[in-house]
């Protein structure tokens, strides 16, 4: 790689940050000039100051940690159940006949509509939030895993059979890698649902977490803390998505979509 192309690539990487940074700068200037009333939107520096204060008191770290933990646990439960059922129903017609129509019926219930019922069942304890996150994460993972398995090229499966692969080797070497692109679509979609569910659940019923922090701040008209919570959600969402994209890039490096264009030969 030449120096010039290295510089170009670095500047391309920086380009994506130009717009958000620009927005923040304009926002700060408008706030300082008094064009945006503090009651509506505090200046970015004020939000930073609030973050610093909450950080010192330990509240911020504790709330982020609590939310993060709920997200991860819910995701792990919903994701693993969804993945397992997706595999089973993708591989076996019988399993699909038993489970699929029931699952499709449940899927049509908006999971957030269950909040009142979930509060009755679990109170406002951790179980309620984890249950909702798991339920929300379950369906994208389930559907995309099943779809991925179903859409593996039958010619490749036949090739595997013709070359004497046992069912387990066929699964590990042909079916699962073939389903991975679709599974990753489900994963990224599920991560979005995970944060969305958690935000709603925490703002409605919680005694800790970022959503709770935002609701408390609203009570005391601390607009800077409310904005801070929203920004933290945005950052956590971006972090989760970047992690998924990194994993995707790593696992699907064979996929033409993830290869540098120069390598392709015609």
């Amino acid at each position: 790689m030449t120096l010039l192309s290295a510089v170009t690539r670095q500047s391309e990487k920086l380009t994506q940050w130009a717009l958000p940074i620009g927005i923040i700068v304009v926002w700060e200037i408008l706030s300082l000039a008094g064009a945006i009333p503090l009651r509506v939107l505090p200046a970015p520096t004020a939000v930073l100051a609030a973050a610093w204060k909450l950080m010192l008191s330990g509240e911020l770290v504790r709330d982020i940690w609590v939310s993060f933990w709920r997200a991860i646990v819910g995701f792990a439960i919903g994701g693993s159940v969804g993945f397992t059922l997706g595999l089973a129903n993708g591989l076996s017609r019988r399993s699909e006949r038993i489970f699929d129509s029931t699952l499709q019926m449940i899927r049509n219930i908006p999971h957030l509509a269950l909040i009142p019922l979930v509060i009755l069942w679990f109170g406002i304890d951790e179980e309620a939030k984890i249950f909702l996150v798991a339920l929300g994460v379950f369906f994208p993972i389930y559907i995309n895993t099943q779809h991925g398995i179903r859409s593996v090229d039958p010619q490749l499966i036949e090739m595997g059979q013709a070359y004497g692969m046992s069912p387990s080797i066929l699964f590990w070497r042909v079916i699962l890698p073939g389903a991975l692109p679709s599974i990753f679509v489900g994963l990224r979609y599920a991560l979005g649902i995970m944060w969305l569910t958690l935000i709603v659940a925490e703002t409605i019923s919680a005694s800790s977490g970022i959503g709770y922090m935002a609701m408390q701040a609203r009570e005391f008209l601390l607009v800077d803390v409310v904005v801070l919570s929203i920004l933290i959600y945005a950052l956590l969402g971006k972090l989760a998505d970047s992690t998924a994209r990194f994993l995707e890039r790593w696992c699907l490096s064979w996929h033409p979509a993830f290869q540098p264009a120069t390598e392709v030969e015609t």
Binding site: L91, S92, R93, R150, P154, Q155, L156, I157, E158, M159, G160, Q161, A162, Y163, G164, M165, S166, P167, L170, F171, R173, V174, I175, P177, G178, L180, L252, S253, W254, H255, P256, Q259, E263, V264, E265, T266
Partner: protein
Amino acid sequence: MTIQVRRRVDDFSAPVPMPGKIEGWNDGLAVTIHQLRKSFAQNQVLRGIDLHIGAGEFVAIVGRSGCGKSTLLRLLLGLERPSGGHFRFGDRPGHTVSPGAIRIMFQEPRLLPWASVLANVEVGLGQERSAVNARERALATLREVGLEDRREHWPSVLSGGQKQRVALARALVGRPRVLAFDEPLGALDALTRISMQRLIERVWTDQRFTAIMVTHDVAEAVTLADRVLMIEDGAITLDHRIGLPRPRERGSPEVAALEGQILRALFRNAAAGEDA
């Protein structure tokens, strides 16, 4: 889709443990087919095929689309079950063949996109994939098809002809004794096709497996095969021995004459406008 792995050739005979490298071990196997029939629902695709293919022979099967020639290969490979009749590999009845002795090269390369070129070749080793010399054997075979320097690449960066060469290496690496070709060159451009034909002829000359090639291209059949069979309506209607010395000159008068003769036979029963 229910994924079921059918037992392959061993449906017809129990597998034997793989012997080590024995002199003459990977010589071709004779194929004897007796009254083989196959129907899909009401559609009778093969109506009693009787055929003996000698060990190490190169047989080309031509015929119109849908005449049942690919079905015959799929039956031999164990990818379909016969509706009637039987076949066996080897000269003696009850002869046992090891798994991997019968291999197929498909019309499409069917390489695993998520495996490197070398790993794709290793697929052809079947159960021997974990053997100590597996990698060396795969590399040696890849060298044979001239793609050793591509071993770490993904299949998606290869050209169509290169992909088929990898597929050929995968078919060859297990030292098959019968190699079936299901129109493997159908999708390639004319020049790549000729160089692939030369490659196939060379490895067949070296390894002396029994080759059964289904093709649309009568010229290809005449250039490569010892014997050209024609299947029409599920039955063998022509069995022509090609006595020309090898290597055969493409476009030479002898080849062209034979090609014309077989093409005429192919069109004899065809109504005007019917596709061949």
